[in-house]
């Protein structure tokens, strides 16, 4: 019954939509008039509640509000993404710190003196990486990286002092090249036939990375040596206390008060050296990077705009105290230090006559042919 009534109502509604009036529609279902009439009258009332038009202003205002909200959401989303990156990094840093502080403080402290090959050495290196995470400024990061490179050199000194054989890797500046024996930031390195060298010639002053093995003889057998790209953090050039103390104790007997910073191996090789040898002076009156000074002898081959070429190497003459009439071909003795960029900065240069070539210093007393060879090339270890 109800379904028939609903269907009848549906027909009536459609008839009303065509414009018919209620009385005419009700005649379609006379047996249902009593039920249909009140509902059809209610339908007319219900239709009166609707609105037929939506004004353009209403649409426009609503659209503006929705689009404005979308713009705010976009900006908010961008800010959240930006902040999210910072907070994620901060949260990760804090979490690491929390873990290390709670569970690893003792271990980290104990690992401070660990050397390559020790069980705690990986902890030490990991902690260094964690510390780098906390440094956000490029300057601070570079300083810390440089400090770590110095730490690598100290570790190597310690290993060599103990005569241990361990695999090591470090960055440094080539300061001496004497045949197969080089000094890289003060560390004695032996270049052998097995050493992987770069295709290009490695010059004195070049920043390099060395991978090798310490040995009981007190030097590093290089397995690989590569030239670093500009901008790599290198260890600071100033000698640290342990290095100075150690060298003073090792070398004072041989070289007296003005100790020469060379390794035992380098000292043993003195008699066989045929090219100018740098000497490292331990002069406490000099400051910072200037405190590790070198002395060279060689022949000037070029003098241009404050940059001279001596023994094939460019040196910075902007701070040099020039003694004597120095021309191209003049044999000279020069003192100076390596700047942070690896360039050798001359502080003093003086003319040496040929007769004095062989008596410039005690450790070079056997270099009979130095004057003849010095102007041609230095021994850069390109053996």
């Amino acid at each position: 019954m109800n379904e028939k009534l609903y269907d009848a109502f549906d027909v009536c509604v459609k008839a009303l939509e065509t414009g018919a009036d209620i009385e005419a529609v009700l005649k379609l279902y006379p047996e249902m008039t009593d039920e249909l009439r009140p509902v059809l009258e209610a339908l007319i009332q219900a239709q009166s509640l609707s609105t037929k038009t939506v004004s353009e202003d209403t649409v426009r205002r609503g659209r503006a509000r929705v689009l404005q909200h979308a713009t705010l959401m976009r900006e908010s989303s961008r800010r959240q993404r930006k902040l999210g990156f910072v907070f994620r990094r901060l949260a990760a840093s804090l979490a690491l710190t929390f873990v290390l502080l709670l569970g690893g403080t003792g271990i980290v402290s104990a690992s401070a003196g660990a050397l390559p090959g020790d069980n705690l050495y990986p902890v030490k290196r990991t902690w260094e990486t964690v510390r780098l995470w906390f440094v956000f400024s490029p300057e601070g990061r570079e300083e810390l990286e440089s400090e770590y490179e110095q730490e690598r050199l100290d570790e190597i000194d310690e290993l060599l002092g103990q005569g241990r054989e361990e695999v090591i890797a470090f960055y440094g500046i080539v300061t001496t090249q004497d045949g197969e024996y080089w000094l890289v930031s003060g560390v004695p390195v032996q270049i052998t036939a097995k050493t992987q060298l770069p295709a290009e010639t490695v010059s004195i002053g070049a920043p390099v990375t060395v991978v090798g093995r310490t040995n009981a003889q007190g030097f590093i057998e290089a397995q690989m040596l590569g030239v670093l790209a500009p901008g790599v953090s290198l260890p600071p050039l100033e000698p640290n206390e342990s290095t100075s103390d150690k060298n003073e104790s090792n070398e004072a007997d041989d070289h007296g008060e003005n100790a020469v910073l060379v390794t035992p191996q380098a000292a043993d090789r003195d008699s066989g050296v045929t090219t100018p040898q740098p000497q490292v002076e331990n002069n406490n009156n000099l400051q910072d990077e200037q405190s590790r000074t070198f002395e060279f002898r060689g022949v000037v081959s070029s003098q241009k705009d404050g940059i001279w070429v001596i023994n094939g190497q460019q040196v910075d003459m902007s701070q040099a105290d020039i003694i004597g009439n120095i021309q191209n071909g003049t044999f000279v003795k020069l003192n100076g230090y390596y700047g942070l960029d690896g360039r050798f900065i001359v502080t003093k240069i003086e003319q040496r006559d040929d007769n004095n070539k062989n008596s410039g210093s005690s450790d070079n007393s056997n270099n009979d042919n130095r004057g003849d060879e010095g102007g041609q090339e230095d021994n850069k270890g390109d053996d």
Binding site: N2, E3, L5, Y6, D7, F9, D10, P38, V39, E41, A42, L43, Q45, A46, Q47, S48, L49, S50, T51, V54, T58, V59, R61, G62, R63, R65, V66, L67, H69, A70, M73, R74, S77
Partner: protein, 199 residues
């Protein structure tokens, strides 16, 4: 007012054949693409507005709630809690809940706003205007006493002009159920009008 959490499934999930790629539109909405937002708004705003106006009888409130419904759509899509297939069903469902939220918030009978909302009606004289207002007042008062489903079916059928089939899809009921619901809603409306008149 948090309709996203209260929307029942029976409204927003009706699958209405639309003839355009709703998936790409939803992706555009998620990316807050202004062009897509404008397109969706232009397509559905009149229907949402008419539905809300029918329920409340207040142009200003209908305008505010209608735009709010679209704002809720953007936020829901962004949070991946919006419609998956049927934007219109979701919008009308949200509109229904927004109206309910509004009525709870103002805590007064919606017919009170009717007096202000019908001021633009073109009536020939002041007496006619008063008569007209009183008549609409009694109808709206009677309408407000219907159940939410009954109000919705009348709003969709006579506010938006939806067919029985379309109303059935939006409300996720079958056509016969809509026929019965509509009939009972109108019968109740008529009774309520009589009761209001006798008060």
């Amino acid at each position: 007012m948090n309709a996203q959490n209260t929307i029942p499934s029976k409204w927003g999930l009706a699958n209405i054949m639309t003839g355009y790629d709703e998936n790409s539109e939803l992706e555009g909405l998620k990316n807050l693409d202004s062009k897509v937002i404008g397109t969706v708004y232009d397509r559905y705003f009149p229907e949402v507005y008419r539905f809300i106006y029918y329920r409340l009888g207040d142009e200003q409130v209908a305008e505010d709630i209608s735009s709010d419904v679209f704002v809720r759509l953007l936020e829901a899509v962004k949070k991946q809690r919006g419609p998956r297939t049927n934007v219109k069903g979701w919008l009308l469902s949200t509109a229904s809940h927004a109206v309910a939220d509004y009525l709870r918030q103002v805590y007064r009978r919606p017919v009170e706003e009717l007096q202000e909302s019908t001021s633009d009606d073109s009536v020939p004289s002041l007496v006619d205007e008063i008569d007209h207002r009183e008549k609409v007042y009694s109808i709206r008062d009677a309408y407000a006493q219907l159940t939410p489903d009954q109000q919705n079916v009348l709003a969709l059928r006579f506010g938006d002009g939806y067919s029985l089939e379309e109303t059935a899809r939006v409300m996720q009921k079958n056509v016969n159920a809509i026929k019965a619901l509509q009939f009972r809603a109108l019968a109740a409306l008529q009774r309520n009008i009589g009761e209001v008149a006798n008060e």
